[in-house]
């Protein structure tokens, strides 16, 4: 866009055309006070706080030329002959803006006096006090006193609950509509609105249940007064008493930057921290209200050893020595292969790395995994993002027109909530958003085209897209030189008529053509895929890779794949080698057992000892609980006495994310650092430090070689294992990490790709978009400026500009007709899943009991009403649950939400289970 030059308070400013006066002034470091305007939302001009004098060159109506005055300069005229609202007035060439002066000040004072006519001014009670824009603007621009009678103030019953999380104080509300607009324009849950008029004008929630949004907490941030407060923080502390520590949310794969606000050692609130690459200035309610577990009184405090079926408290040294003892004993008696380890993928990279090292290098076992081993987990581990993931420097905030986003097999709202905002933002700015899923998702509402595919036909759909690209000959040549096997692929795909491919996918040919051509034609293309996509099998991931490559959408910033992984640091777990098939950074190892194989082995009595850290696989899974109780030795390292911990022989408490340092790797492969905010109860150490203690104790017991275990029969195999395991680099013999950055340094030295992720580089901050000295008007009391580092995005393999890719064709599995089990059951993630992280959280009432979701057609056919029990049967077993009906769901698909309470494993056979449903 052409630039426009104007003068603001004597300063000459050049900004792109279309910029409003407030933003232009910001660029020139001139402060114009605002209430309703927020740079992330459209200007509405509701509050009139931004009134300024705007002069434009006078135009001679006859000649249509600027009138030149006596002094040789263009003559100026006051726009409309009155003050203008700066936030809704676009700049124009030659404009002269005055933000000071009697007239403007009179207006500003008037606006503030008027806003305060009925404002309670109970700042000492108000939670916003101390970070309140109304306080600050009144101090700077307001009148010293009011002409209105204090006793005339309008009074309202103090707080009304907008929902269970957010309370509204109508006396304080200045009706700026920032909250309403946030819900409409950014969150996409238009659940707030205005009601009544005049003095009774107020904000109401229009949804049932009230304020039904996963982003509701953000409204309390952007509300310029203390009208919106959260039940989580109300009257807990005054904001100036808080000590903020930079942290990163590990509840999902977005990895939002957050700030943990503490008073002394107590968590007061969680606030978003600005990071354009990750969460802009937002965070979801899960991250904001889901951190209370760190303060839970139920947390384990001392290590405990089970003796004679009773828990006995032990010292740390006793406990770790005992663990090492018993693990060594199991290894001596049954071989290293009888040991298995599971570490939750919400643990930081440092811990995961040392966990792998403990198992591979000290205990000599490759049986480690980060998955829970439920039947619905995909068998294959997905490394595609490391190869074709979005290129380094990707910033979704900057994308809009010219960007095509294909979201397939994912439900971002439940899997990684903030992606809804991010992807919707791209669509809002003119990008092409296509949502493909086999059940309805919220994101589909914002899509240019939303496609429902039959479960199992996802790969066929992508194949059809490829077919359309080949049919139109529109393949993007950007990566052509680096592709191998392109012709074979083209032949295999083009072998079938496009109509057949489209029919196999169950999608109209025209739709397929339209999606394919807009994806290929776009300047930037991003493919987001999630749980359902990975569950659909390798044929789909392969097809997605083909699509990205053929479409030329890989190997550079803002192009490539984004995989929404199951947990906050799944990407890190895969990279750190907490997986049976590969070591850190993808190093080759002898494949060990996966979690699912471990359960089978434990049942078969070949797996004897397990180390489970930060995972609760026994929850809602009786089969696993049974397997675990057969073990000879089980050590569980966790925050709480979980179902799994109850089966353990030793329980080791650990520190939470808030009580230690570390790094996480998010879905876009951005490594981000978090810092310690508080001391742990009972001085519980970080997970890695316990791994280190155990490793040291094991080494002290068998100083010669970890593989020199007495069991002879598999000595050779184990030697081979340990050889391959250490092939990454020569292992430092000693375990002498003092702080987590020691491990981070080793990771960046030993794990390819993690080079350059030392804590120092993670701390680098780039100046976020236009933070200015007068930013406080936008951000007072809202998101924190990021001064502690935006993290480092790992490059994808394709970024190197030279590696070549083998395209391969995989025949999508044909639709299986099954008489006995006519329906397809999919497990779907729920953001509020009732996990350990929810303990003590205000979100607990939002969890739902286990249920099953049927389509209207299926429900009618079965004669099942909402809330009635149904029996689900599959090849694996049966399960009885109450039914819900979803009007958007296609017939033949049954959804099983992954929430606490039902033994889901008893009925599942895989990511997509064939079932029959009957009225119970």
């Amino acid at each position: 866009m052409p630039d426009v030059t104007l003068t603001i308070d004597g300063k000459t400013v050049t900004v792109p055309a279309g910029t409003n006066i407030v933003d232009a002034a910001r660029a020139g470091d001139v402060a114009i006070p605002v209430f309703c305007y927020h740079p992330k939302m459209k200007a509405v001009g509701m509050c009139r706080m931004c009134l300024v004098e705007v002069y434009t060159p006078k135009i001679d109506p006859a000649t249509r030329q600027p009138v030149i005055g006596a002094d040789g300069k263009p003559e100026l005229a006051l726009m409309m002959n009155k003050l203008q609202a700066g936030c809704v007035t676009p700049v124009s060439d030659g404009m002269v803006v005055k933000t000071v002066g009697e007239r403007v000040e009179f207006a500003q004072r008037g606006v503030l006096e008027f806003l305060l006519t009925s404002h309670p001014l109970d700042c000492p009670v108000c939670d916003k006090g101390g970070e309140c824009p109304l306080q600050n603007l009144t101090m700077e621009w307001g009148p010293g006193n009011s002409r209105y009678d204090y006793a005339d103030k309008h009074h309202n019953v103090k707080p009304v609950a907008l929902g269970d999380l957010i309370y509204l104080d109508r006396e304080r509300c200045i009706l700026c509509a920032r909250c309403v607009r946030f819900q409409d324009e950014i969150a996409g849950d238009p659940v707030l609105g205005f009601d009544n008029r005049g003095r009774n004008w107020e904000i109401i929630s229009k949804s049932e249940p009230a304020f039904d949004s996963k982003f509701s907490g953000n409204t309390t941030d952007i509300c310029p007064v203390g009208a919106l407060t959260s039940s989580d923080f109300r009257f807990k502390a005054r904001v100036w008493e808080l000590r903020s520590t930079p942290s990163v949310c590990n509840h999902c794969s977005v990895g939002c930057d957050i700030s943990i606000d503490m008073r002394y050692n107590d968590l007061m609130r969680v606030m978003p921290r600005e990071n354009d690459f990750v969460n802009e200035i937002w965070t979801c309610d899960k991250g904001r209200y889901g951190m209370r577990h760190i303060m839970s009184g139920e947390r384990l405090k001392t290590p405990m050893i089970r003796r004679n079926n009773a828990w006995v408290a032990a010292t740390w040294e006793e406990a770790t020595r005992y663990v090492a003892d018993r693990l060594t004993l199991v290894r001596a008696n049954y071989g290293a292969n009888a040991l298995g380890g599971l570490a939750g993928a919400h643990l930081p990279n440092e811990d995961l790395y040392l966990f792998g090292k403990l198992f591979r290098e000290v205990l000599g076992s490759n049986n480690i995994d980060h998955r829970r081993g439920t039947p619905d987990e995909p068998t294959a581990l997905d490394d595609l993002p490391n190869i074709l993931g979005v290129g380094a420097g990707t910033n979704l905030t900057t994308l809009g027109k010219g960007t095509a986003v294909l979201v397939i097999g994912a439900d971002p709202e439940e899997e990684a909530p903030l992606y809804v905002l991010r992807l919707r933002g791209i669509a809002d700015r003119g990008g092409d958003l296509t949502v493909v899923n086999s059940y309805p998702t919220k994101l589909a509402r914002f899509a240019k085209s939303a496609v429902t595919v039959r479960p199992g036909a996802e790969a066929a759909f992508v194949q059809a897209l490829l077919g359309a690209i080949f049919a139109e000959g529109s393949a993007n040549e950007a990566l052509a030189a680096r592709l191998r096997g392109a012709d074979e692929l083209k032949r295999s795909v083009s072998g079938k008529p496009l109509a057949d491919l489209a029919a196999a996918a169950g999608v109209a040919e025209a739709t397929i053509r339209a999606i394919a051509s807009s994806f290929v034609a776009a300047e930037n293309g991003i493919i987001v895929y999630g749980r359902a996509a990975v569950g659909a099998g390798p044929a789909l991931t392969q097809a997605l890779a083909n699509l990205a490559l053929v479409g030329g959408k890989a190997g550079r910033a803002n192009n490539g794949l984004i995989a929404l992984t199951a947990e906050g640091n799944t990407r890190g777990a895969l990279d750190m080698g907490v997986r049976p098939d590969r070591g850190p950074g993808g190093a080759a190892v002898t494949a060990g057992m996966s979690a699912r194989e471990m359960w089978a082995a434990a049942k078969a009595d070949t797996l004897k000892g397990m180390y489970i850290a930060g995972m609760n696989p026994a929850k809602s899974n009786t089969a696993v609980a049974e397997a675990l109780s057969q073990l000879e030795f089980l050590v569980v390292q966790d925050l709480f006495m979980t179902e799994t911990a109850q089966l353990a022989h030793v329980v080791l408490p650990v520190a939470t994310v808030a009580e230690r340092d570390g790094t996480f790797t998010n879905a876009e492969r951005r490594v981000q650092r978090f810092q310690q905010a508080r001391r742990a109860e009972g001085e519980a150490p970080a997970d890695w430090s316990l791994f280190q203690e155990v490793a040291r104790a094991v080494q002290a017991m068998a100083p010669a070689s970890p593989t020199a275990a007495p069991a002879k029969k598999s000595a050779k195999a184990r030697a081979a294992e340990s050889n391959t395991a250490v092939a990454v680099a020569a292992p430092p013999a000693s375990w002498d990490y003092l702080v987590s950055s020691d491990i981070a340094d080793e990771i960046s030295a030993r794990v390819p790709g993690y080079k350059g992720t030392s804590y120092t580089s993670l701390e680098l901050t780039r100046k976020s978009w236009g933070r200015q000295p007068n930013e406080s008007f936008y951000y007072d009391g809202t998101s924190y400026e990021n001064t502690e580092g935006v993290g480092v995005q790992l490059p994808a393999l394709a970024d190197d500009g030279k590696s070549v890719f083998q395209l391969a064709y995989r025949e999508p599995a044909p639709a299986a007709a099954d008489e006995q089990f006519p329906l397809t059951l999919l497990t779907v993630v729920r953001a509020y899943d009732g996990g350990e992280w929810m303990r003590g959280s205000k979100l607990v009432p939002r969890t739902v009991p286990a249920h099953v979701i049927l389509s209207v057609a299926d429900a009618q056919q079965l004669g099942v009403g909402i809330g009635e029990p149904v029996r689900i049967s599959s090849a694996a077993g049966t399960l009885e649950l109450r039914a819900q009906v979803d009007a958007g769901l296609s017939a033949g698909v049954v959804l099983l939400p992954l929430v606490k309470g039902a033994d889901l494993a008893s009925v599942l056979t895989g990511p997509q289970t064939r079932v029959s449903v009957a009225k119970a």
Partner: protein, 165 residues
């Protein structure tokens, strides 16, 4: 020489017949000045409600970091103080306090007042911390009404800053 001794003794003799100013503390206590800044008290309104609304402005003003306020939310049925917030915990560490009176200045409701008690001695540091129970005056010692307009409204009034004598 002699002259000087006589001169000095004259002063001695003069005071011998004057009334002594010594006060037999602790049997007798000398009254302090009206504006003396001694141990704090947390005041009440006439109706027995606590004046303190738990705003922690006193703690923010305190140069010695002697005050700890942990706020809580009033139960609308049985409010401790007018408004939504009250001090669930209120403590002053008298060993830290320098009796500057800044807290009194900062308080928007005139709740915290430095009163006239100055006998502050402790056997251990812990007992130098005065809790809310120790600082709060008895319910019948309240003074100053909540402005009638706010009482009339028959709801919890919002502007504590306006509630004053």
């Amino acid at each position: 020489m002699l002259g000087e001794i006589v001169k000095g003794l004259r002063t001695t003799f003069k005071y011998l017949f004057k009334k002594p100013v010594t006060v037999q503390y602790p049997e007798v206590k000398r009254p302090v000045r009206e504006r003396f800044r001694g141990r704090h008290e947390l005041k009440r309104f006439e109706n027995g409600m606590e004046r303190c609304i738990g705003c922690a402005l006193c703690a923010a003003a305190c140069p010695a970091d002697a005050i700890l306020v942990i706020p809580g939310e009033n139960d609308p049925a049985h409010p401790n103080s007018p408004g939504e917030r009250y001090a669930a915990t209120y403590e002053i560490n008298m060993l830290r306090c320098i009796f500057c009176g800044y807290c009194e200045d900062a308080c928007p409701t005139n709740a915290i007042v430095l009163e006239h008690q100055y006998e502050l001695a402790y056997y251990d540091r812990k007992s130098a911390i005065y809790t809310k129970e120790m600082l709060l005056v008895p319910p019948d010692k309240g003074h100053g009404e909540i402005p009638p307009i706010l009482q009339e409204l028959n709801r919890r009034p919002s502007p504590p800053a306006q509630i004053d004598l």
